[in-house]
């Protein structure tokens, strides 16, 4: 189930559809994404959103895992600086984001594949724009080329 | 290209005219006009009008006398009452059109040889003289004063009507014509007395 080699193969080269994993905080960006829906704005269907209570919960491992499992891009959405529901969680996010970006660059992952956006609960249009813009940029970059790595975590019993 | 000033100064307004229209019979509710345009949309003649009834109501209550009285709309109105029945503010628009026509005739706001006022005047004259209208005579008189050439083009129809017995050659007249004259004079006198 987690064999990336197997899973990546069937993707036809001609129509590359980037796959992007997004981590949205519960209080701002996830709400904004809901508002995008209630406002019936349309955006590219390439993003899969994972809801966390705060962008500060985004463990760098999550990002690395997403890339390892086949994501072509990772998007983090949090409240604007100073607006964090938990006072300062998003400042931690920002710090980790900068570190992680440097690390990813060293791993050969283009900067544009990893993105942090501040989107408040009212900014539905920013959700749409951020997603559409990122999908286009990642599409231009093409599929993420990583050497398949050995699983470094234990399988969860299923 | 002839250029004309279209911007209006307050001095172009005649507040007296505005006062008059809202105090004339039927004009009581003109100020309530919401400018919804239902009158214009209901009017079968509005497609030919320079100012739609709605605009005319607004211009009237604001006192733009020149524009209102020289508008073609007041002559196009056939008094079909469609606007008045439709009006959500119950404004007596048709009656206001009559009032405007009357005022326009009084102040001579119409082109020379314009048939509508001519016909109105001839009509009144005939009533005073005979008490009744004989259509054939009325039409003849109007065309003689406005457009003789049209009389010629109408002669075919006239002849047919005459043959069908619908164009009596003799003028109809009431018996007690003096009563009509007396009443007309009385109205004139009372109007003067009460300054109506």
């Amino acid at each position: 189930m987690r064999n990336r080699q197997l899973t990546r193969a069937p993707q036809p080269q001609a129509a590359f559809e980037p796959r992007i994993v997004a981590f949205f905080c519960n209080w701002c960006t996830y709400l904004a994404a809901d508002l995008t829906g209630t406002s019936r704005m349309k955006y590219a269907p390439n993003v899969r959103v994972i809801r966390l209570m705060c962008s500060g919960r985004v463990d760098p491992q999550f990002v690395l895992d997403a890339f390892a499992q086949g994501a072509d891009g990772v998007l983090i959405g949090g409240c604007h600086p100073g607006d964090c529901h938990y006072q300062e969680g998003n400042y931690r996010t920002l710090r980790r984001y900068h570190l992680l970006r440097r690390l990813l660059r060293q791993m050969g992952i283009e900067e544009e594949r990893f993105r942090l956006e501040w989107i408040s609960a009212a900014e539905a249009d920013r959700v749409r724009n951020a997603i559409n813009d990122m999908v286009e940029r990642v599409r231009a970059l093409g599929p993420l080329q990583l050497e398949p790595k050995r699983e470094d975590r234990e399988e969860v019993a299923v | 290209m002839e250029l004309k000033r279209t911007v209006k100064f307050e001095a172009d307004r005649d507040p007296e005219f505005a006062r008059w229209i809202s105090h004339t019979v039927g004009g009581e509710r003109i100020r309530h006009c919401l400018q919804c345009g239902l009158c214009s949309a209901s009017c079968p003649l509005s497609l030919y009008m320079d100012y739609t009834p709605r605009r005319l109501m607004h211009l009237s209550r604001e006192g733009f006398k020149e524009e209102v009285l020289s508008s073609s709309s007041i002559w196009l109105c056939t008094a079909c009452y469609a606007c008045m029945v439709a009006c959500p503010k119950k404004i007596n628009i048709t009656h206001l059109m009559y009032a405007l026509k009357e005022r326009a005739i009084e102040e001579r706001f119409y082109p020379k040889r314009f048939p509508i006022p001519v016909m109105a005047q001839q009509f009144c004259r005939m009533v005073r003289g005979s008490g009744r209208i004989t259509e054939s005579w009325l039409i003849l008189r109007v065309f003689l004063r406005t457009a003789i050439w049209r009389l010629l083009s109408m002669s075919g129809l006239g002849w047919k009507l005459f043959r069908a017995g619908r164009m009596p050659a003799r003028r109809d007249k009431i018996q007690r014509q003096h009563e009509i004259v007396a009443m007309l004079d009385s109205v004139a006198a009372t109007r003067k007395e009460l300054a109506l």
Partner: protein, 672 residues
């Protein structure tokens, strides 16, 4: 029982039995997502015992379906693919609870707001829904039963802002027997309403209906009124907020001042020299003053900026002399900080009016006879600077007055929104101006918006009064005369769009009907109370229709014009709604908090202490004897920042454990 249940591969992974439910939401979801295909797909996922799609999962029969399956098929994990979890997660959790399953063994998949409503391509939308459902099924495997925490509610309420909204909310709560702290920034309560002369559409006098409520606030034993005060800090959580209030020195001992104003009479300044804030600078006040005669509390204030004693320390202090034995004046008073504990908070901080100077083409500040509507409210107020006579700056009566609507409203250059109250207050001012001066009054409007009880009727009345209505936005106000009749006048230029020509209208006085804006410090205030603002800067409600006075912070409510432009009736209704919401919480006596707290695996903790500074709530401490970090669950608010920051992964967060998230990540990415 409907027979839409699909056969599954039946694998029973470690006793986990998942039920998947895909909601059509009428056509809201089913119109874009092939719900049947999603349900069929889910049926093939490992561990899924049953998979169904249903018209409305949130309906009673929908919930009954889940409950029935839990009992009949011994399900122990539930995945519902429907609208946003922010809407119906509580509904489905209750359904689990009723069926005897721990409510946290549920995962909700958002396939409406984030799938069907935002995509057009049915195939792509269905594929996305499949991915999300697959991730949820994988994630829900790891869910553990959790218990919500119950916390008691402190029955005291803080109301911030003493305008009509705050006053009404405070009185409602106090009448219900709760203790209210009413904090107002200005030296008196009353807000904007106290400045008005009459109120639309009934034309009853604002003071007559407001002052009884103001005095009721001042004398109510259940209300602690702190004017000239501001909230500076809020800590704690719903039901248990600790609030710091800064009380500015008024240099008067409130308990001793009787409001006799003898000090004001006795002040060394024989005449006022400072622009009077309450009259918007249209009159002058002394350094010691009462904001207006009906001010509550009836306590004077000393303004240290203009008082000679503060400047030179050499004043004769005739005020102190006049106060005599009462000794209410205290020049040494200092700012104090009070700390209070409340369970709920109502924000009623109101609005500010648009700064008319931002539209320079209307000549505000340049031509003395261009006023804002609020200034005119003061001018026609019997208690105002002119005793209610509408006079120009030169003391003459205006013969013609132009009222310009939508100043700072419906304008992409300033504010895009409709300020809602301007049409009606402009009509009111038009009526009052015509009544008091007999002047010709011109209203320049874009649309006349009078949706309210008795409002359209009021407009109709104004039409009949012979007020001119020119439909068109005013382009400029100048003193340039293009016609002899315009000499010495202010000329308003606008298209009369109903007449379809441009008009130049000379007037003596221009009234700018300024719109409503968020308070200048709205951003700072919302941060103190940990709530959000809409992009315009109004406080953001939890739901625009169904939760208009709630916020995303439990126990903090918003009421009145701080949420968006509102007239008096709307503000009062809003205040009542906020008070009722607070009362509902208080009367429940406790509130249940989500159990998303962090916890430590002590065995793995290396005692590096790196988590301790990460917590904004000081919930993590270091147990010296064990050399391990410990988390105080009561203080933890469940953000998860410490979890992400722990280098040894020895902190986990309930419902958001690392493994759960990993499953979700891999779930959305795994190809089917």
């Amino acid at each position: 029982m409907p027979e839409t249940g699909r056969p599954t591969n039946g694998s029973n992974a470690g006793g986990v039995r998942v039920g998947v439910y895909v909601c059509h939401c009428g056509t809201n979801i089913a119109g874009t997502v092939d719900v049947r295909a999603v349900s069929e797909y889910a049926a093939g996922l490992p561990g899924v015992v049953v998979s169904r799609d249903y018209k409305y999962m949130c309906s009673d029969p929908g919930q009954a379906l889940i409950q029935h399956d839990i009992q009949e098929l011994a399900l122990n994990r539930i995945v519902v693919a429907s609208c946003s979890p922010l809407l119906h997660e509580p509904t489905f959790r209750r359904a689990l609870d009723r069926a005897g399953l721990n409510p946290f063994l549920l995962q909700v998949v958002n396939i409406r707001e984030q799938v069907s409503w935002v995509h057009l391509d049915k195939q792509a939308a269905t594929a996305k829904a499949n991915d999300l459902v697959r991730a949820a099924v994988r994630r829900v495997f790891l869910h553990k039963p959790l218990q919500r925490r119950r916390v008691p509610i402190n029955p005291n309420v803080l109301v911030v802002g003493g305008g009509i909204t705050g006053i009404h909310a405070a009185l409602t709560l106090a009448e219900a027997g709760k203790h209210v702290y009413l904090v107002e920034r200005e030296p008196t309560i009353g807000g904007h309403m106290a400045m008005f002369d009459k109120t639309f559409p009934t034309l009853d006098c604002a003071a007559c209906i407001l002052t009884p409520k103001m005095t009721a606030v001042g004398s109510h034993p259940g209300i602690t009124l702190w004017t000239y005060s501001e909230v500076v800090k809020v800590a704690g959580y719903v039901g248990n907020y600790r609030v710091q209030v800064k009380r500015k020195p008024r240099y008067i001992i409130e308990d001793l001042c009787l409001g006799c104003q003898e000090c004001v009479t006795a002040c060394v300044y024989k005449e006022g020299k400072t622009p009077d804030e309450f009259n918007l600078g249209l009159s002058k006040r002394k350094p010691v003053y009462l904001p207006f005669p009906q001010a509550v509390p009836q306590k004077v204030v000393i303004d240290p900026e203009t008082c000679i004693e503060f400047k030179s320390k050499k004043c004769k202090k005739t005020c102190v002399e006049a106060c005599g034995d009462r000794q209410a004046i205290d020049f040494t008073q200092k700012e104090t900080l009070e700390e209070i504990e409340v369970g709920t908070i109502i924000l009623a901080t109101g609005f500010k009016t648009f700064d008319a100077g931002r539209n320079p083409y209307y000549g505000y500040g340049r031509y003395p006879n261009v006023y804002t509507s609020l200034e005119v409210e003061r001018l026609i107020n019997a208690a105002g600077p002119t005793g209610g006579e509408l006079l120009l700056r030169d003391g003459k009566r205006p013969q013609a007055v132009g009222i310009v609507h939508c100043v700072g409203s419906r304008d992409a250059n300033t504010n895009r929104w409709c300020s809602k109250v301007c049409c009606m207050y402009s009509l009111k001012l038009a009526h009052l101006i015509k009544e008091r001066t007999g002047a010709e009054v011109y209203n320049f409007y874009i649309d006349m918006r009078t949706p309210g009880k008795g409002y359209e009727e009021f407009y109709d009345r104004l039409l009949d009064e012979g007020v001119h209505f020119v439909r068109g936005r005013v382009a400029e106000v100048t003193d340039w005369a293009a016609h002899p009749s315009e000499k010495g006048k202010l000329v308003i230029r606008a298209e009369d769009t109903l007449a379809a020509f441009v008009r130049r209208i000379p007037v003596d006085m221009v009234v700018l009907s300024v719109g409503l804006e968020p308070q200048l410090d709205a951003q700072a205030v919302r941060r103190i109370f940990n709530i959000s603002c809409s992009s315009e800067g109004w406080f953001l409600e939890r739901h625009p229709k169904l939760a208009p006075v709630r916020t995303f912070t439990e126990g903090v409510y918003i009421a009145g014009a701080c949420q968006g432009p509102k007239d008096i009736p709307d503000s009062v209704a809003h205040a009542g709604a906020a008070a009722a919401e607070a009362l509902a919480l208080i009367d429940a006596q406790f509130v249940e908090l989500e159990p998303y707290t962090a916890f430590i695996f002590e065995d793995a903790c290396s005692g590096c202490k790196s988590c301790i500074p990460l917590c904004p709530y000081q919930a993590i401490s270091f147990a010296e004897e064990k050399k391990k970090a410990t988390i105080n669950e009561v203080l933890c608010k469940g953000c998860g920042t410490c979890v992400a920051g722990c280098p040894s992964s020895s902190i986990q967060q309930n419902f958001f454990e690392d493994e759960e998230i990993f499953e979700e990540i891999e779930g959305v990415l795994a190809y089917a």
